[in-house]
Subunit: 332 residues, 2 copies
């Protein structure tokens, strides 16, 4: 009997996309970071993210505020990836009856803090009692800014692939927690990622930015979505990958490969986008001037193959797939 | 240390309502069936409902399509209670990797069936792997119809309290499953409740309908919300409670009290509303003509006390509170 482990998370999404009905009000449905929906004179952006104890977080590592912050940041980041503005959130919580009230209040304060940085508020949700483990599901509702949003499709051969900030820090932070290594800076990246809402909106207004995604499952897998949705290939140049000082030092001290974290580590919530080569320099110069945030060209879009390669070599895209991975993300 | 069991589900909601920030775009926030939100030239209605294995359903009793249907119906019913129209749904799913693909497809088909009866479609969500148990969270997004929606507040002393259809069948159906009694009609009510979307919209257009709620947690508890939000009392006349034939027969055969199911049983998803006494007859006549669905006056709004009484006697409101109940809803 075929199970979810056989077809994986993305196999399931593909299948659901085929069998489920849609509507003319749906501009972008199942499959992109957010759904884009016609509603009156505007367009809605909506996205949900599950955040589950011992899969996405551990109570002994993360504070209640950390847990809430990250649950909300993950959903906010989907809005950022479309270049939208978040407005509202619904937060569903399942937890055991003996959960301390102070812990739940901390989780809600963490969610509210992340949301309020971008002027979004919690407007409802659901609560229910379960035997074990805390489950959060955060739905963020936002709107498109200006006349368009940036999806995963639309990249063209020759486009440069750019990544904001640094990747891999969150995954290295998780490794340091699992192995009890001191790495406060990396752990901070793991616990308090900052969704790139303003940056996403700014990039969305530049026509040269043709496809965008947030790096939630690892650069290889997320760029794989841009390649697949655009029916093209992407070549990542490994020597160009940005290795932040904290990641470099941690990897030297503990014999790890920083590129593995950058390519396969998720939950950094940086933005990766394809930009027209002839407009890239002007756009990136203006971006640096606006945000004082570094960007790195990590690859190029090509029509020579389909999917993502590193240094033109086919790779086993080993990003995080919830159903295929044998180990829990937070397991040792 | 204070836990969620001490303060209960509604204690938690009260507390969150006090500590969480809000926004001028929020017309109705935490606490009502749906949030009502300003968005462009329209108003959004949004609501989330968790639906969890061994709390809300059992895999050995319900088919995958039943599970999906009821998860969606519960969220749709919140839209019905505001008199709105559903448009979109986000469905989050956590389940073990060894879950058969056919089961998950069945659950999604059940959700899509319930939604498509009211022209709503699934537009996204999230999926993740957990060790045990299926968790669904359904967020329904809809819109207000016409110029207003009906909330829980607004009842006035002297208003009649009306309930559509029959209550108690779903809870009696659950009892029959727990005790292996044959009761196909009641079990059908338990597995495939029908949200009262069209009825809710119709009632919402009548100004005499001043407050409304869906009966999801039991008549006592749900009318308790109308009483509390309206700062008034409600007197339920026990002799007027509608006892459907299937419920009456089941209770006779198995020595149960039908009034207990009607007052405390949840998940019927009928509508309960307060209607101005001088307009009630005309509204109810027209309602019957439109829907061929019976309504029953079960009580009256009073300013003589606060909260719900039965035959003017104070009662222990024993409706379902997820954190306070010692037993799981689906447990034996």
């Amino acid at each position: 009997m075929q199970t979810l482990r056989d077809i994986g998370e993305f196999g399931l999404i593909d299948r659901l996309e085929r069998i489920l009905p849609t509507s003319p009000l749906v501009v972008e449905g199942i499959g992109d970071d957010c759904a884009v929906l016609r509603f009156g004179d505007k367009q809605l952006l909506v996205s949900s993210d599950l955040f589950i104890e011992n899969v996405h977080f551990r109570r002994d590592w993360a504070s209640p505020i950390d847990i809430g912050w990250k649950a909300a940041a993950a959903a906010l980041s989907d809005i950022a990836a479309m270049g939208g503005a978040p407005l509202f959130a619904l937060t569903s919580l399942a937890c055991p009856g003996d959960t301390p009230t102070s812990m739940i209040e901390g989780i809600y304060q963490g969610m509210a803090s992340a949301l309020s940085r971008f002027s979004a508020v919690i407007v409802g949700g659901d609560t229910t009692r379960v035997e074990t483990g805390i489950t959060l599901d955060v739905t963020v509702i936002g709107e498109t800014v200006g006349s368009r949003c940036v999806t995963r499709h639309g990249a063209e051969a020759g486009d440069r692939i750019i990544v904001t900030g640094n990747c891999g820090a969150s995954a290295a932070g998780l490794h340091s927690l699992q192995h009890r290594h001191a790495a406060p800076e990396l752990q901070q990246s793991h616990f308090r990622p900052m969704p790139r809402i303003s940056e996403g909106q700014w990039l969305c207004r530049r026509k040269g930015v043709r496809a965008m995604i947030d790096v939630s499952d690892g650069l290889l897998q997320d760029l794989g979505h841009i390649a697949a949705f655009s029916y093209l290939g992407i070549n990542i140049m490994s020597e160009s990958l940005p290795v932040a000082q904290a990641l470099s030092r941690y990897c030297q001290d503990h014999g790890c490969d920083p590129h593995a974290y950058i390519l396969n580590g998720g939950e950094d919530y940086e933005l990766a986008f394809a930009v027209a080569a002839n407009e890239a320099d002007a756009i990136l110069d203006a971006f640096h001037h606006e945000f004082r945030l570094k960007t790195t060209q990590v690859g190029i879009v090509t029509d020579k193959w389909l999917g993502v390669r590193v240094d033109a070599q086919p790779i086993d895209t080993a990003g995080f797939d919830h159903f295929k991975n044998a180990l829990s993300a937070q397991g040792e």
